[in-house]
Structure formats: structure tokens, C-alpha cells
Symmetry: C2
């Protein structure tokens, strides 16, 4: 395995010259560069990342924090799409991406301490579920660069990127109105969760914008299973003046919603329209396929990683937030013959 010294000797130059070429230092004559590059290729030389890291005092890695126990985040297909986006950007910059489970404890220390103090990584990306006061405090204590994906529910201003859930809620209403629905209900998980709250706010924005009146009893909240969706929709259907459309913030719950409607002998989309959030994994598989508010989660990852690198390059830059646009994917569940 060739080292920088071998290259230097073989090329008849000093190691500093080789180093400058590795680092694309412009103060090198074209001919020297050519000569050395050729030797590097001949010797199959690749700089030793450990030595580089030590000398540079940076590990050339960034870390994606996960909470492996948390089914809602880790065991979620979106998560991996985000990871894919992050990974793309990280390797473009010639760094490695480390995955670290925040549950892990190493030698009685939090993995955060271990990574930061051990100089294993230059920056950290956290899902909002991990943007806890404790973690934030620890990161700030070390003035360590980090970015959150998903809007964090934190009193401190943070750097984060999220999809525009509020816009998504509004688009859902707009779409339904355009399809001729007027009595639009809303089913979500707990609105204490920020993304549910934002989707809800967007729903209300949408109603207002379309001259429709918001009704408390049309906005159901809580739950995340198919059974929950079934029950919640059941309640809505039992109203005297039942809704003619429903927006559901969870694709799994949506299946329950759909079932409740069909069980009641009503037809989707004719009697009732459904818009679900989050296309994957099941909206397409439902019968009929569900119209969704879809989201570019890959882009979420890309932008998160970019924000982190900006922060690493310029630690004093201002706090930043980015929202990524959502988009309606119209399918059968709202294709009402007008």
C-alpha cells in the first residue's frame, strides 16, 4: 500500500508537493502536477484517510442520528428516502455518512459525547423526534454543527428543514373543492405533534380560502392505526350532516377510514372523497387508490445535508429554516364524476 512518501520518492519530489497536489493547491506547476498524478495512478495511491483526518483535525464524516426503538421514525419508509438524499450529498463532498442510534450508550457516555469528543464526526443530522432539549443542550455546549429534519418543537431557534405540511393541508382542501366536495372533514393523529398541527392549520387555511366554515365536529384527532381510522370515520359518518370528503394525515389510518365508508354502504369517491397524506407505503394499494398529498422526501434529505455543510463551513451563519413544497397526487379516491 503506497504512502505519500512512496509517491514523493517515485516522482522525485517532496511529500509536501504531493500533499499540495492531493489538496489541489494551485501553487504547483502544471508539469509537476502531471508527473505526480501519473505516479499516483501507477502506484494505485489513495491518501490514508486516518492520517488526513488526524492532521486536519477533522474526521471527514457526518452523522445521521436515529432512534432505532422509535417505530414511528426509524421504521418508516420516509426515513430511508431522507437518508438516501443525505447520503448522496455527503459522498459528493468526499465524506462518509455514519449512522448512530441515540439509544446507544458507550462506556457510560451518550453516543453524542462519544462522537463529538472523540472527534469522530464533523456534524450531525437529527430527525425532529431527537431534537430534545437534552440533545440540543449537549450539542450547543460543544458548539457542534447540527441540523434537524422535520420541524422541531423546540423553544430554541434551530436550523431545520421540513416539508411544508401546512401548505399540504391547504392543497388537500383546494383539490377537494375543485372536485366539487364541500363538507370536508379532517382526521389526524394528535395535534400536539407539530406536523399534524401544521396539516390541521393548512386545512383551516384552505377552508377559509375557499369560503367554507370550519366546524369543530369535523376535525377528529388522535390515533394512528387502521382501527383508529375506522372508529373516527365511523363517528363522522354518524353525524346528521355527515361530511362528503375527508382529509386524513396518515396513510395507515386512511385504510380504516376507507373501510368505514365502504362498510356504511357509501362509495368512494362518489359519496365521499378521501385525501391521504404520504403516498407510501399503502395509498396506492388501497381500493380505490387514494389521492395523496405527496412530498419529496429525498429532497428533504438533500437540503438537510446541504444546510449542514453550510453550517460546517460557516459556523457563525444565521439560523435557517427551509420548507419544501408538497404536491397533490390525484387518484381515484377523489375522482368524482362532477
Amino acid at each position: 500500500m503506497a504512502s505519500i512518501k512512496d509517491v514523493a520518492i517515485a516522482a522525485g519530489v517532496s511529500t509536501s508537493t504531493v500533499s499540495r497536489i492531493i489538496n489541489e493547491n494551485p501553487a504547483i506547476s502544471a508539469e509537476t502536477r502531471e508527473k505526480v498524478l501519473k505516479v499516483m495512478k501507477d502506484l494505485d495511491y489513495v491518501p490514508n484517510s486516518m492520517a488526513r483526518a488526524l492532521s486536519n483535525q477533522r474526521a471527514f464524516t457526518v452523522t445521521l442520528a436515529i432512534n432505532a426503538e422509535d417505530v414511528k421514525s426509524f421504521n418508516n419508509p420516509f426515513f430511508y428516502e431522507v437518508m438516501h438524499g443525505i447520503e448522496k450529498v455527503v459522498y459528493q463532498k468526499d465524506l462518509c455518512l455514519i449512522i448512530a442510534n441515540m439509544q446507544t450508550v458507550i462506556k457510560k457516555e451518550s453516543i453524542l459525547t462519544w462522537l463529538i469528543n472523540g472527534k469522530r464526526t464533523q456534524g450531525i443530522i437529527l430527525p425532529s423526534s431527537l431534537a430534545t432539549e437534552k440533545n440540543i443542550k449537549e450539542l450547543n455546549k460543544h458548539h457542534f454543527p447540527f441540523v434537524v429534519f422535520g420541524e422541531p418543537d423546540s423553544p430554541d431557534p434551530l436550523n431545520w428543514v421540513d416539508v411544508n405540511n401546512r401548505q399540504g393541508g391547504q392543497q388537500a382542501v383546494d383539490h377537494l373543492v375543485k372536485q366539487g366536495y364541500r363538507r370536508i372533514a379532517f382526521i389526524s393523529g394528535s395535534r400536539k405533534e407539530l406536523f399534524n398541527k401544521n396539516r390541521f392549520l393548512g386545512y383551516r387555511d384552505g377552508l377559509e380560502r375557499n369560503g367554507l366554515t370550519f366546524r369543530e365536529d369535523f376535525a377528529a384527532e388522535g390515533g394512528n392505526t387502521k382501527a383508529d381510522g375506522l372508529a373516527m370515520m365511523g363517528t363522522l359518518l354518524s353525524l346528521d350532516d355527515r361530511p362528503d370528503a375527508v382529509i386524513c394525515t396518515d396513510s395507515i389510518m386512511s385504510l380504516g377510514v376507507l373501510k368505514a365508508i365502504q362498510k356504511a354502504g357509501l362509495s368512494v369517491p362518489h359519496d365521499i372523497g378521501i385525501v391521504s397524506f404520504d403516498n407510501y407505503p399503502v395509498a396506492d394499494l388501497a381500493d380505490p387508490p387514494l389521492t395523496t398529498v405527496d412530498v419529496d422526501v429525498y429532497e428533504l434529505g438533500v437540503q438537510t445535508a446541504n444546510m449542514l455543510f453550510k453550517l460546517i463551513d460557516n459556523p457563525l451563519s444565521r439560523q435557517q429554516q427551509t420548507l419544501i413544497a408538497t404536491e397533490i397526487q390525484a387518484k381515484e379516491s377523489t375522482m368524482r364524476a362532477k
Copy 2:
């Protein structure tokens, strides 16, 4: 940020003594150890991983290779469960887990070369889809430790861990027979895929073991979408002597199978029983919920990582293969009133 030198000075010992304590070298008196450990704690000392890596000539990381473009593997919930298992073991050993997309090219080199020659990682875990001749060749060229998860379709003997798909196929038949089904069909993706082939072989084993005769026309092959399942089951239903049960190797296809049966006015599980492979993401959400051949994918990750560490510790050890048992999760789709 305290270094080993700071600790040494503060404790009135040499750096080698501190180093020995870090590395739990037994040749240190108890009192010295106590003294130094206390100083380490006081100074908040954590060994610099980059320096350690350089000095030890190992990066203290292992890599999980992914193919981010390959929806079938990367964008698959199982994958992340496997990752979780791997991650657990890796951090127990105080190493980091790197994620590397094999699609990535860095400075015109394959990421494999970049990782290996750059000494960024000590070992690699590959999904079987990435155990290509090219990758294997490159890894072997460097005598680099690697383990595959999922049985690879490779002429070379490799170290791998997989779930016991063949056993799963057999269990599916056993279960159906126990529920009183006799005319058992089999629907899978292409049997050129090893896992489908193994499930198929298990199916045949199961038939034989239960004294049933294998019929070509009961074994459909190819496809992976809901629509494929619908079509393939349609064909089976049109047979004069249609099956009274079906094993489907893909949970998404299973939804199509279910739909075909219901469309034909037949009932599940009364007229026809269904066993699907792979519980997540949809088998539970189907109506009725599907009996599945379920698999401990977390364990798959754990065992894969363990195998890798064995290999790293002992590079000359024999090739090894491990199969993890499968298990029937009985649900409504096979609960036939006998």
C-alpha cells in the same frame, strides 16, 4: 479539549501509562489506574479517535453497503430492520457504522476502492443484491473482510447469513394442511431470484412431506405488483379444479391475490386460504389480515454483524453460512372453520 498528554501531566505519569489504561492493559497497578481514571474524568477526556485510528492502523468503522437506486432492496422496510440489528452489534464493539451507496463514484474510483484503500473501514456488509462478481472480486483482491446478508447467487463460496426461506415454504404448506387445505398453489416472483427459488423448493418439500402431489399448473411465477398478483390468481381460479389455498411470496402481490379471490365471489379463508411471506408492511392491513411466514430480520442483522467481526478477528477462518428460522404468524386468512 484534553489530550493524552494533558492527562499524563495532570496525573504525574507518562503518556504510555495513560494509553495502557485506555486500552485496559492489565500491567498497571490498581492505584495508578484509579488516579489516572479520576484525572480523565476531571478533564472530560475522551481519546481522539483519529489519532487512535492512525496509530492502530484501523479505522474503527465497518460499512454497510447499499444500493440506493434499487427500490427492491434499499426502499424496503426489512432493510432497515437489518440495519438496526447491525448497528446494535457494531456500537457494542465501540465502532461506528458507515453507510455507503455502491452507486457512488468518488474521484473516478468505486466507493469500494475509496473505502478500502483510504483505510476508512475495517469490514463490509453487503446485501446479496450487491454480491456481484465485480464487487466480490474487488473485495477479494484486497483480502478484505466482508459478509453478505441474503443468500448470494454466486459461484464462489462466501460468508453469508439468510433467513431460512426453504423452511418457510415448507411451514406454509404444513400450516395450510393443518387447517384442512389440500389443493395448495404457489405464487412467486421469478424463481431465478434465489429467495423465491428457495421458497418454492420449500413448498415442494412441504407438499411431499404431507403426501400431496406437486402440480406445474399450481405454481405460478413472475411479477411483483398488486396487479400481477391479481392476474396470476385469476388464472389459477379459472382452472377446472381450482386451488383451495395459495402461498404467495410477496406481501404486495398478496393483496392482488386477495382481490382476485374476492372479485370471484369466493371467501377468504372459507373457500380459499392465503399465506403470504413477509408480514410488514401490508399483511396486517389487508382485509382479512393475512397469515404470514414471518422472519426475524433484526436477528439477521445481528448475526451478519457478528459474523463480520469474527472474520475481522480471524481472517483465516472458514467460510460460514447461517440460516435463521422462520415462523408462521397465523391470522384470519387461513382460519377456516373446519
